[in-house]
């Protein structure tokens, strides 16, 4: 056998371990499930927006607006009286629609008089994620298209018309309904923008904490084995539970310290985005109380403990520093999956398989907690805390059990099929 072949065979043999392959296979399956579900979600979002139209005006400009809305959107409710607004909203909500558009009786009259025609839009907001705002963005484009069409018509009819009026012949009065709250004067996109820090900053910081603190734990276990200190430690008069929890607490403290440093930097970065909206969150009751901060803290702490106990479990598989690097991959993926999911969509609007997956990953809960608390969704937050607490407890128990067995030192794994395969090939 050539030198190259000999080296290649040896390297493959070393790399062909369950610890290398199983995490990748699991992550691949998770991504496959996510891809299928998100594809369906995207297709659904790109369909014409479902709306209701209440038109009190029958003249030319309102007819133009109605035509645009009926052509490019799917109208499930039509009326000629604003008194029917509540029925319209209920009907649209039942059809999972996005808004009720009111064309008031004086729409055409005002435009003819050289004043902006008003379109009243009552939005039904589904979520604050990027995917959730696709339908409302399409409707916003349609409303702009109506304005453009009116401009064209005005120019066609009268070339001496006021330029600033003709460029913007319509205006919108918007009200958004979201999680049983009314946000007067705000569109869903504005609200999503206001919640940027909850949507992006917290998931990113959480992901960074998990990845950094997780790799500390896994590496610590690997170094205990590589430096041959583990055997000594296990023969000392110290409880296995103390060894496990001591390592987890130390990594959690370091992780939180790193998080604070990251948080400071990221907050400066995101401050620019928040200020640009110029909307005061407190004016709409979108602030967290001190009790809410305690809930977020508990959620974050438990998720960190759960994550680190999972890392400890993975760390028991690590034979040395090199293998520890491979084992941090599944943790990184598990932290990144909920980060992207919570950025793209609200928990409520997720397809069921992704909803289950998101709930099952302990790191999702602190990422969702602050946004959920802003809208008083205590069931999701407390349910998440209970789940993550149980997850941490079970995982720590498993780790302690592993510490009490020979497996930690002998590394015996009963993958008979893999051993048989290796024997056959080499």
């Amino acid at each position: 056998m050539s030198g190259l072949g000999n080296i290649t065979k040896k390297e493959i043999r070393e790399l062909l371990t369950p610890a290398t392959f199983i995490p990748i296979i699991v992550i691949a399956l998770i991504f496959a499930t996510m891809g299928t579900s998100l594809q369906g979600m995207q297709e659904q979002a790109q369909e014409p927006p479902i709306i209701g139209v209440i038109s009190e005006d029958n003249s030319s400009y309102s007819a133009m607006a109605s035509t645009v809305l009926h052509t490019y959107a799917k109208s499930v409710y039509n009326s000629t009286s604003t008194a029917d607004l509540q029925i319209g909203l209920q009907t649209v909500e039942q059809h999972n629609g996005v808004a009720v558009v009111i064309i008031p009786g004086n729409f055409s009259e005002r435009i003819t008089e050289g004043q902006q025609g008003t379109l009243e839009v009552y939005w039904i907001m589904k979520g604050t994620g990027l995917m959730d705002s696709i339908s409302s963005s399409i409707l916003e484009s349609l409303l702009s298209f109506i304005s453009t069409n009116v401009s064209k018509e005005l120019i066609k009819q009268n070339s001496t018309v006021n330029a600033s009026f003709v460029l913007s012949p319509t205006q919108r009065i918007e009200t958004t309904y979201y999680k049983n709250r009314e946000f007067a004067g705000l569109s869903p996109n504005t609200i999503s923008g206001m919640l940027t820090s909850q949507s992006i900053l917290i998931p990113i910081v959480m992901m960074m904490i998990i990845v950094m603190a997780g790799s500390i734990v896994i590496t610590s276990m690997a170094l205990e084995k590589e430096n041959k200190t583990l055997e000594t430690l296990l023969t000392l008069p110290v409880k296995r539970t103390s060894i496990v929890t001591g390592k987890i607490i130390a990594a959690a403290i370091i992780g939180l310290l790193l998080a604070v440093i990251y948080m400071i930097g990221m907050q400066f970065y995101f401050r620019g985005f928040e200020m640009s909206g110029g909307v005061n969150l407190a004016a709409y009751g979108l602030t967290l109380s001190s009790t809410d901060f305690i809930w977020v803290g508990i959620s974050l702490f438990l998720a960190l403990i759960a994550g680190l106990s999972l890392c400890m479990l993975l760390g028991t598989f690590a034979k040395n520093y090199k293998s520890a690097q491979t084992l941090t991959f599944p943790i990184t993926m598990l932290a990144m999956i909920p980060m992207f999911i919570t950025m793209f969509a609200d928990f409520d609007t997720l397809p069921l398989p992704i909803k289950i997956l998101t709930f099952a990953i302990p790191f999702s809960h602190p990422m969702m907690a602050s946004r959920a608390l802003l809208f008083d969704d205590y069931i999701l937050v407390i349910g998440g805390i209970v789940y993550v607490g149980l997850f941490a407890l079970v995982t720590i128990s498993i780790v302690v059990w592993v510490f009490k067995t020979d497996r930690l030192l002998t590394g015996t794994m009963k993958f008979k099929w893999l051993k048989a395969l290796k024997r056959r090939r080499f």
Binding site: N227, K228, E231, T232, T235, L236, D406, L409, T412
Partner: protein
């Protein structure tokens, strides 16, 4: 009273029988050597005694405690020095000894650390980081760590491994003096001279079974051998 009582000890790694029903006992204050070729089951037997591995059969009693049921009690009384042990590289020698001593009675910690420093005999280097130590210095630190806690039973796997002649001699003297203070010592070694010098009694182990037990002198007479090396070769290979 026996410090260690091993009866028909069986230890398996999956389908491999590492230890196949060995029995021996060690008296208090005795230095007992487990001698055998590589892969004979010495280290496995020592790891079992150190509460690191569970047993698949038989029974082990250490200082009156059942190994299978009372491992935490046993850990308070023993000290184990693995053959290829290491220390935390980012700590100084002194900090490492302090870290280990902190697991014991707080009142005894300063005395323990002081004893550890004396045993290691590292001088000013005790305050240097462990990752700057030579192999011999590291071994001395680990021997110091193992003996400073005044264990009732010291389990030493190749205690002089990696040491030069002078350092090895010092460690042997130290083990001998430690036993004279009442500590029972169970050790394994490849060095037959060391075994002859140190051990009150030895057990020769091959392929997971004990093939001979006795005092070195008595075994040499029995096999008409000039030294333990010859006894070892005759019992294991003939």
């Amino acid at each position: 009273m026996s410090a260690v009582e091993v009866k028909n000890l069986v230890k398996k790694y999956g389908s491999i029988d590492a230890v196949k029903g060995i029995s021996f006992s060690i008296d208090e204050g005795e230095i007992f050597g487990l001698i055998g070729p590589n892969g004979a089951g010495k280290t496995t037997a020592l790891r079992v005694m150190s509460t690191l591995l569970s047993i698949n059969g038989g029974s082990v009693t250490i200082l009156g405690y059942d190994l299978s049921k009372q491992a935490p009690e046993i850990r308070r009384l023993i000290s184990y020095l693995p053959e290829d042990a290491g220390a935390y590289k980012n700590l100084s020698g002194r900090a490492y000894l302090q870290f280990i001593a902190n697991f014991f009675d707080p009142k005894e910690v300063p005395a323990m650390v002081q004893k550890g420093i004396e045993i290691t005999n590292l001088g000013v280097r005790i305050d240097d980081r462990v990752d700057t130590y030579s192999k011999g210095m590291m071994r001395r630190l680990l021997v110091g760590r193992a003996l400073m806690t005044n264990p009732k039973l010291a389990i030493l796997d190749e205690p002089t491994s990696g040491l030069d002649v002078i350092n090895a001699q010092e460690i042997r003297k130290l083990i001998k003096s430690t036993a004279q203070t009442g500590t029972t010592v169970l050790l394994s070694s490849h060095n037959m001279l060391e075994v002859e010098y140190l051990c009150d009694r030895i057990a020769l182990i091959a392929e997971g079974k004990i093939v001979e037990t006795g005092k070195p002198k008595a075994l040499m007479e029995k096999y008409k051998a000039r030294n333990i090396e010859e006894v070892f070769i005759r019992t294991v290979h003939e």
